[in-house]
Symmetry: D2
Subunit: 372 residues, 4 copies
């Protein structure tokens, strides 16, 4: 089957997420990265292109130039992958939509809720498909968790506890020249949220994705612990779900010593599910009779099967590969994958509403605040 | 050294906590259980006495009778251990204080905040020593955690996450004749709180005990998930500490599959501490340079040394033994242990204030509410 | 029910195992320690007696004196608990048997195989019951493992891997005045084995106990790593079981950093079982269809139920309590418990044969050597 | 920098290891797969080529044809990657050497010891570089373990315990049409060893790689548990190292329920190291004072730094990427990497000698047998 032609904006030298997009796309077996606007500096753009195996004449200075040039080619790109800081997501996505390209965007959807809503409108008016790489929802065992809850295997959900803790911003790295810290803690590039936008959105999305439910109201305690920092670096949030469940979300980038402290616990009327990113291919499942099982990709009775190599199905790269494969399927006709197993613009709008509501309600020391 | 003579109220046949008090007292090497009012049913009281090795003539029908009779003996009891349901804590403690006996009470201090304050006043007016068996604060490795924070080894505390999850009340056992469930979910015996009083208090106390700080305000979402239940079975709570730290407390007795899901994470400016009751002798310590250590009773550099057998120092029984030993030391003259390493009436008042504030604020859907 | 009267030899001040016997006996609810020959030094014996709550006039200078005096009392001891170094096991047991007392002995049975066989003969000729506290075989979850294999739940056993690693003898503590190290590394008190006798026997016994099979031949590499040490401190052993299974046993007391590195894995034709002493109440069970379960005392479908408090069922103390309770049942008439769920003299003979065969075969650098 | 041109033999449709070579090579940033002899069936070869992004005219029917055609091109391959069953390793490698190509071979080096020695001779006579992808030795944390032992951080090694357990061959899959099982259990394609060759070699190599020592003698118990199977499926082996350490190696493919039960423990005079493939980025390090650290890629004080994404550094793919990068460095001039951090032909010869000695000594029920 012919490969789908992919262009990337962002993901230049030093980027962590750019290579994840390219390799994930390649691992899916359905995409080929053929063009890129990796950097506004032409030399750096060409170096990045060489790393990615993109021909020098298809390394562009910006997304606008790339889209224009590629539209003019018979073998031009069909999909735009967005791997830039948050503030550039919207303009790149809008340009792609206008040009009739599909969009595979890194999370969060945009820098603000208003932008996310603008993007939703543009998508509704156009013909482009749009998916959002909340990577963890590409992990096979996370999809198994989702499928089990959907199948009623733990009964109605009563309680959700989700944490995402990292420690790498416990000191003011953004003031010490670390570029990855710098844009994340710069409101002009990250948007209204710092930690809550960067990893809190992963936690929020996972809670909704796995339960299949939506959060209807929150109380938020969003903090900035490191002096001089412009955006938040920690958040504790109480949640109520539309379906009646309670929830807690705790995320932090000042959690000293944590590298990938991403955990999810869902307790239902008759069963429970636990997942921890440090054992990312294992799902702890408690059945109605209290039996505790450890599910992994070789377990019997799985609802979701993905033939990934052992030890690989819990890597970020695997998450990208699975999501790129699903996006290819959507392009090939199965558009209903988007917004169900593959996150789409509604997930993007919801997560941005979560970010803005939490930041604002916390600043006002508000009690329960609706997310609707 | 002569053993201190102990009498017990409660702890009859089928009690879990009664034997913990007796064996803990004995393991401490400093106490001897010589009398008891184990049950209001005389036959059951005598059976319990036989199990405990208490002479039949010192098995009484109630605490009042026991105290009167024991006061008349030259070898009468010196300390009253309270192992009853919550609503009996206050009358038993008051009677002991009036008789000049010391009191070793199970947690929580009383059934209500008003009772706890009444008890505090009575203690202030009398000469009795009073300690409260929040067992986990007797674990050596928990005391190590407390000592490390007090010594500044993780810097100023920024964030505390504490959970206590059990699943045994996921169904309405109290309506099915389970006596341990019945009194816990009966307001006339448990007080204003159900789960929050039974295990939420452990979590709250641990957070304050280890940090050496006090919670100044909370937002509480206290729930009753099981239909027909008179008291709460789940709580999620945001906290702010006087010293500036944020906190989250999540406790539940409908957490299907959990037996002892008690965990504590404390993140400081330059280090962190983690503990999980499923590996109760291990403390995960993250130092200023990011190094992760697993501390256990044989580790070098511990601030707190307790010569307990391997595998035993994390058992509830060990917690009782250590706390009874400390109470003996207090009786022998080192009263300053109480209220510092050994919980006392102030801990009792604080935890009851936490329970009542959380339950009431949640019922009113209040935002941030002071604990003072 | 009247308590069975227990006397103890050994277990003086500083002993680890003496208090385990006394508290285990008491926790069983069926025994009372009323006499002891805790030390040959009268003053130390009396101090130990005070700790144990034994009357001064029943604290004796040696087992012979104790047995003689107690036989003369109407309320004299009925059972002798042996908690001495190994070389004193045989004379104490023989004296008890001669006096018609039952014997509850600490492991290993004796210091040598010849002694164990002599003890077996004496038991056969007398009326005493004899049990051996291989503690771990008193853990409820270990008995569950044994019951599952006996019930065919993993099919015929193919492979057994058992390790017992400690690090406390990585240096020559016995040359530095540590009394617990000193007797263990002294051939006149420990017998022919050091580490292999002290903890290798636990590993060997567990392998046979859980599988219900017997080891028929071994290849042994028994080592002394620490210079100047008179007995072994490390052993690696290949095993073949009578039933056809392969096995590996690795034990060490120079395993730096290990405190209780006791693990068991049993692989069968259609299932498997794993246990680790660091999570002593958990049994990992793999069923015929590959499903992985974590069994704990609250799990559904257990074959063995023991109503122990959460977190306690995996403590050494619990093992003693369960084994003392079973010994009481044996005394009360159910003698068939001994040699089945409760280890008896045959277990003692087999483990001593294992020790001597391994030590000797290793010294000769022999290949496969029969254990029969 | 120009990419090094890679051709692959083997790795056709359904292969696990072929994509690992290609993606690892690509992730290294230094290689490009441009040609392949993926299958002897031309259509299947072309399909595989399409998956890999190899032009149809560079998909060949066999290694001989590929090497001949590529030699004739100015842009022909420079390196041959070998991803076939074992019996094809030698002819492919010899052809490459004769053509002056470098060789990156999957493990084991060959099907027999004699072949490995023949390959060693051919390499000595030629100019080709040769490396062997024992993947785990490309894991950063494994290299850290090796570096710490080399730096004396645990003192002289006393004991090594290594296990590699899988369960996927607990039944006779090779008789049920599973192609990956079929070649592994077919002596004409796998060589003299089954499980011992497939994963026992990983365990053996890791033990030597991390300790920097060599095994000098062994006792082996190599078994075939599944009836009708032509090669072994289980092995337990005692080892002695040239430097004086003891060792145990246990590997199995009938270990029901195990997916990647690969573990290493090394105990030294003053420290220890533990690794488990289920937490592949973590190294448990016990220091001279008994302190237990958990080392991961973000830990302070590491001797080896590899800038891999979190969660990725313990994947097989990462191992390939690191080893391909090192092979590129070797080609670029740093040939001393081979045989030190990057396994080479000596590793290949040693592991084949281990396989053949173990299989033969076990068949003869021999005692200690030299490996030299």
């Amino acid at each position: 089957m012919a490969k789908i032609r992919l262009g990337m904006v962002g993901g230049g030298i030093g980027s962590f997420i750019g290579p994840m997009h390219q390799l994930g796309a390649q691992l899916s077996g359905r995409f080929e990265l053929v063009a890129g606007a990796f950097s506004s500096d032409p030399e750096r753009a060409r170096d990045a292109g060489a790393n990615y195996g993109v021909a020098p004449d298809r390394c562009y200075a910006g997304h606008a130039e790339m889209i224009a040039a590629e539209k003019a080619r018979p073998d031009g790109i069909q999909v735009l992958a967005i791997a830039t800081p948050n503030h550039l997501h919207l303009p790149a996505a809008l340009a792609a939509i206008e040009a009739g390209l599909h969009v595979m965007s890194d999370k969060p959807a945009t820098a603000t809720l208003a932008e996310a809503e603008q993007l939703r409108d543009a998508l509704a008016a156009g013909t482009s498909l749009y998916a959002l790489t909340f990577t963890y929802s590409g992990f096979p065992i996370i999809r198994e968790a989702r499928a089990r809850i959907a199948a009623g295997m733990i009964g109605a959900v009563r309680k959700v506890v989700v944490t995402f803790n990292q420690g790498w911003l416990a000191n003011a790295l953004e003031q010490a020249g670390n570029p990855r810290a710098a844009w994340r803690m710069d409101p002009s590039r990250s948007g209204v949220g710092g930690c809550i936008s960067d990893i809190g959105t992963h936690a929020f999305h996972l809670a909704e994705y796995v339960t299949g439910d939506t959060v209807s109201e929150i109380v938020a305690d969003v903090r900035t612990h490191v002096p001089g920092r412009a955006l938040d670096d920690d958040a504790n949030i109480l949640m109520r779900f539309a379906g009646g469940a309670s929830g807690v979300l705790a995320s932090s980038q000042v959690a000293v010593g944590e590298r990938l402290g991403f955990t999810l616990q869902v307790f239902g009327e008759k069963g429970a599910l636990h997942w921890h990113a440090e054992a990312p291919e294992t799902l702890r499942f408690i059945a109605a009779d209290g039996a505790v099982s450890l599910l992994s990709p070789m377990s019997p009775g799985l609802l979701v099967r993905e033939p990934l190599p052992p030890g690989f199905g819990g890597s970020i790269l695997a998450g990208f590969a699975v999501q790129y494969r699903d996006f290819a399927k959507a392009i090939d006709g199965d558009a209903a994958l988007i917004g169900t197993v593959l996150p789409g613009i509604e997930d993007g709008v919801r997560t941005m509403r979560f970010v803005e509501t939490a930041v604002q309600a916390s600043a006002e020391r508000a009690g329960w605040t609706a997310l609707a």
